[in-house]
Symmetry: C2
Subunit: 222 residues, 2 copies
DNA sequence: TGTTTACTTCTACAGTTGTAGAGAATAAAC
DNA sequence: GTTTATTCTCTACAACTGTAGAAGTAAACA
């Protein structure tokens, strides 16, 4: 009963160690870099083949390794999956940070929404992973905590931008800031689902139009 | 290696057969009723313990049967799961049919939304199942087809109600009907996620407030 | 070239899964 | 009570899972 019939083509390892100790020094990998590679492989598997295909063997093969080789970097599958979800959140937040840098008020809010919405193939893959995440977070404490902390941060950011808009006289008087933020948030979460599953009925152009309509409701009439 | 250590307490079977053939007639179950019981057991397991707990053995135990007994009713696990998802869609649509009966325009639209939104514990359980469904539908053709057919129907209904509202002069002139329906739909999908995972930040009262704000944007100023 | 050390592969294993089917149990009609 | 068709339980099994660790491999320096 042989286990690995598929011998994955090993990738070229480019990591170079920086440590130099006593005697002989063997091959050294950058652990942080390797962990990132493994997380990205996991991300690709989940996005393309779904959570049920994300087995340790599949992930290892996708990363170009054999079965047992993930353990030194992630002691357990749960740790790897959790790191993958955290990675996707980070990725989105980094894009948001770049897109909103130097912006304020409704401009910042719009830039934020346009980064969160699945407007291209890459973010569509992110959405696929996030949907898997939600399914697990619905029944796991750690997952829901990660989610809720992120969502709370997003709500705070949105509220801040709307406060700025109100200060500047750009916000419609009737807008309830926290509630409007929640509406926008729920709209964006739902968009992930529509964009992934009902792709034909939810093009990027559709989403942009829907976002514009939402933002128009916030803007003060001139 | 014994398999079933847990002997599930058998439920009282109430089905009565109606057929009467040649000679001796044994116990007869209403296959349709039984299938429904099994689907409901599956629904409960997914809602309470998640998709990963929905094994054939767990489902059978929840329904009050032993392992093998599901096969005569659902030949495969995929068939049972699919029937469960279809059941949840049906359930929602039946509630919608009741709530919108005799209503038109924005009243019907509001009634519809209030049936779809997870405003009570029961619908929160439905939302949990739907989230599992989405995760599978993201990578399966059959699932996405079921979803997209339902969503298309919902979009048509919403458009019809908005058309009626426009006819009656209740709809704001600036409203783009298909796009507004999509916004509302995405908002409702996202609400399922928020309500399940970020429950504390998404109470029924919150959702009602958000829905009211959305509908206010559709209503013509008087 | 040889040694040391970090890394990777490979084999193994216990547990769980969906599926299958033989047989026991069941209840209705005679 | 006997018969009989149906329903259900139980055991079995092959495939797959996450995890573990022994054995092998290769890099860097002496």
């Amino acid at each position: 009963m042989f286990e690995s019939t598929v011998t994955a083509a090993r990738l070229v390892r480019r990591g170079r160690g920086t440590r130099a100790e006593g005697a002989g020094m063997p091959k050294v990998v950058d652990h942080q870099q390797r962990k990132r590679e493994l997380v990205e492989a996991t991300w690709r598997i989940i996005a393309r083949r779904g959570l049920s295909a994300a087995t340790m063997r599949q992930i290892a093969a996708e990363a170009g390794f054999a079965n047992g080789s993930l353990k030194p970097y992630f002691p357990t599958k749960a740790a790897l999956i959790e790191a993958t979800y955290a990675f996707v959140f980070d990725r989105t937040n980094q894009r948001v940070a770049v897109a909103t840098r130097g912006r304020e008020g409704l401009m910042a809010l719009e830039a934020f929404c346009r980064e969160v919405l699945p407007l291209d193939a890459d973010r569509l893959d992110e959405a696929r992973v996030v949907i898997s995440f939600w399914q697990e977070a619905a029944h796991e404490l750690r997952g829901s905590e990660l989610n809720n902390a992120s969502m709370a941060q997003w709500r705070r950011s949105m509220a801040t931008w709307m406060d700025q808009a109100r200060e500047a006289g750009d916000l419609d008087a009737g807008v309830d800031i926290p509630s409007s933020g929640d509406v926008l948030l729920n709209f964006m979460l739902g968009s992930q689902i529509s964009a992934v599953i009902d792709r034909a009925a939810t093009t990027p152009a559709d989403l942009e139009r829907q976002l514009a309509a939402q933002l128009a409701h916030l803007r003060a009439a001139r």
